[in-house]
Amino acid sequence: MIGLSHYLILSAALFCLGLLGLLTRRNAVHVLMSIELILNSANVNLVAFSRYGSGGLAGQLFAVFVIVIAAAEVAVALAIVLTLYRIKRTPNLDQASTLRG
């Protein structure tokens, strides 16, 4: 039977994959996708806790808000990535290094 622990393992795996992508990827779009994985791992947690725990519907409502926020965040992020791409002609984050020190 699939129970709460299966969902928690899935979400922990998603979180770790997201973190790994965040640390190793150099392409800005890939990094954004990794961040989506992290947010969705939290969503899996929220919905699973809501279904199996004592929390009622609050978790599922929370997850809906997270989905909306994630969409807004990606909209802003892609706009900035695009502007930077127009200036530098590369989505590579290693070359976004004018500011240092």
Binding site: V31, A58, F62, V66, V76, A77, L93, L99, G101
Partner: protein, 511 residues
């Protein structure tokens, strides 16, 4: 019949909430009006937008002060109205008002030629979300407000549309922010799983009932994740990497705003989360919730934050970067107040942030005016400033001495409150106070470097003609004097501030 009473209750709650929600409503209306006015494309729209913004901020300030004594929740326990929230909301609204009034399109060389409407609309949006964050009582509300504040800040940092530095700064800010708030969200989901609720007061009651050992470990992991999100908003080490880049790349008015408002909101929700969610009030002290000893974690972060901030500031020559690292160090001092977990600690957080607002905004105003007249942010161009502009030098000296913590300036009072609160906790906290004191000494070194550059250092001889004397506009002179005078408040009228901070200590700890 049953339905009828239920819907009456519903309507009463909505009417009551709407009444207490007036400050936020005022900001929302002004936000929409600013967008409409900006769409008119008329020549005068910039000044109208500014006046509208100032009016909205002032009326929200007045409304929030008028409602300061309430201690309750509104919108079905989503938000709180309590005296502590009123203090921080007033602080945030006051800071936003000062930024919009004194740092404008008129005296910023960087903003010249850019659209005014979006600027004021984003400022209002960021302030509105700060208010929501300060009074959040539910994990979902907390996350929503935090993200709304972050999103408006990202766009404000990228305000120079075609500028490489500004966009790069914003992208770094955004990726850092998205990663740390993502981790925070994961932590919040664990909180929900452990306690079965998203309301802070109920979380505290669920934790007070005790957890099994395995769950206590999970709770600790969740706290670490949540601290990542708060650390990002308050620019605490090790979540501070975005801070110097964002401060340098953003237009100076935005930098001044970012250095005060999101930080104050971040500390307000940090205090609320840890004092209401993870501890129990017990007389004038707070008792820790069983099975998570978070002050040790925050103590480590605080000590690291001030040390890293001060050490990195030592070698900076760009004034915006230098002030960025100094603001990181100040976040470390403010955290000392949270670690103390007592009434005096909470008061330390409030008073320190108030002091920080006055000295930091003043310092940024001087940096902005030097850039306006001489086109430079570099400390190496500051020598001889005392000849070119005695007023800028004198006021900057006040702000720098205040940041250093020299009595009787307001920065000293802030340090006095937080150090006092920590020492009061007993011998096991003494080392922490010593770390703070050593850091204050270290910070004095680079602050003194600014004073030396302005006052003692000679202008370079290689230049053929000496730089012309700076002629400040009357408006700028008035604001500089006002900020400098405000830094002297301890001499003149400290009483009211202290009394307010004392009376504002009550946190709403109910549902």
């Amino acid at each position: 019949m049953h339905d009828a009473t239920q819907s009456t209750q519903l309507l009463t709650e909505i009417a009551r909430s709407g009444w207490h929600f007036l400050p936020e409503t005022a900001l929302t209306i002004a936000l929409l009006l600013v967008v409409l006015v900006d769409a008119s494309r008329a020549r005068w729209r910039g000044s109208v937008c500014q006046v509208l913004t100032l009016l909205a901020l002032a009326s929200a300030f007045a409304l929030r002060i008028a409602d300061r004594a309430t201690s309750d929740t509104i919108w079905f326990h989503m938000l709180t109205r309590d005296p502590l929230g009123a203090f921080f909301s007033a602080l945030v609204l006051g800071a936003a008002f000062l930024v919009v009034a004194s740092f404008t399109f008129r005296n910023s060389r960087e903003l010249a030629g850019l659209g005014p409407g979006e600027f004021y609309a984003l400022m209002l949006a960021a302030t509105l979300s700060s208010l929501l964050l300060i009074s959040a009582n539910d994990l979902a509300m907390l996350y929503l407000a935090l993200e709304m504040l972050s999103l408006s800040s990202y766009i404000l940092v990228a305000y120079f549309k075609g500028d490489r530095m500004s966009n790069e700064a914003s992208l770094k800010y955004l990726l850092f922010g998205a990663a740390s708030t993502g981790a925070m969200l994961y932590g919040l989901s664990l909180f929900y799983g452990l306690t079965g609720t998203t309301r802070l007061g109920e979380i505290q009651r669920a934790l007070a009932a005790g957890l099994s050992d395995a769950n206590a470990l999970t709770l600790y992991v969740a706290v670490v994740f949540v601290v990542a999100g708060f650390g990002f908003k308050t620019a605490a080490v090790p979540f501070h990497f975005w801070c110097p880049d964002a401060y340098e790349g953003a237009p100076t008015p935005v930098t001044a705003y970012l250095s005060v408002v999101p930080k104050a909101a971040g500390f307000a929700i940090l205090t609320r989360f840890f004092f209401v969610g993870l501890s129990t009030p017990l007389g004038s002290e707070w008792q820790l919730a069983p099975s998570v000893h978070w002050p040790a974690l925050l103590m480590l972060i605080s000590a690291l934050t001030m040390t890293v901030g001060n050490v990195a500031a030592l070698t900076q020559t760009n004034m915006k970067r230098l002030l960025a690292y100094s603001s990181i160090a100040h976040a470390g001092y403010v955290l000392m107040g949270v670690v103390a977990l007592s009434e005096n600690g909470a008061r330390g957080v409030m008073v320190y942030l108030f002091a920080y607002l006055l000295m930091n905004l003043g310092a940024f105003l001087v940096v902005l005016l030097v850039h306006k007249h001489e086109g430079t942010f570099d400390l190496r161009d500051y020598p001889g400033l005392i000849r070119r502009s005695p007023l800028l030098t004198a006021t900057m000296s006040v702000f720098v001495l205040s940041l250093m913590g020299i009595p009787p300036l307001v920065g000293f009072v802030g340090k006095l409150y937080v150090f006092g609160a920590v020492i009061e906790k007993g011998p096991s906290y003494y080392w922490f106070a010593v770390v703070g004191a050593l850091n204050a000494a270290l910070a004095a070194f680079y602050y003194a470097r600014i004073l030396k550059a302005m006052i003692i250092d000679d202008e370079s001889e290689s230049e053929a003609a000496p730089k012309p004397v700076i002629r400040l506009a009357l408006y700028d002179r008035a604001w500089l004097t006002l900020f400098a005078a405000a830094n002297l408040t301890p001499l003149l009228l400290w009483g009211p501030v202290d009394v307010w901070a004392r009376s504002a200590l009550s946190l709403y700890t109910g549902r």
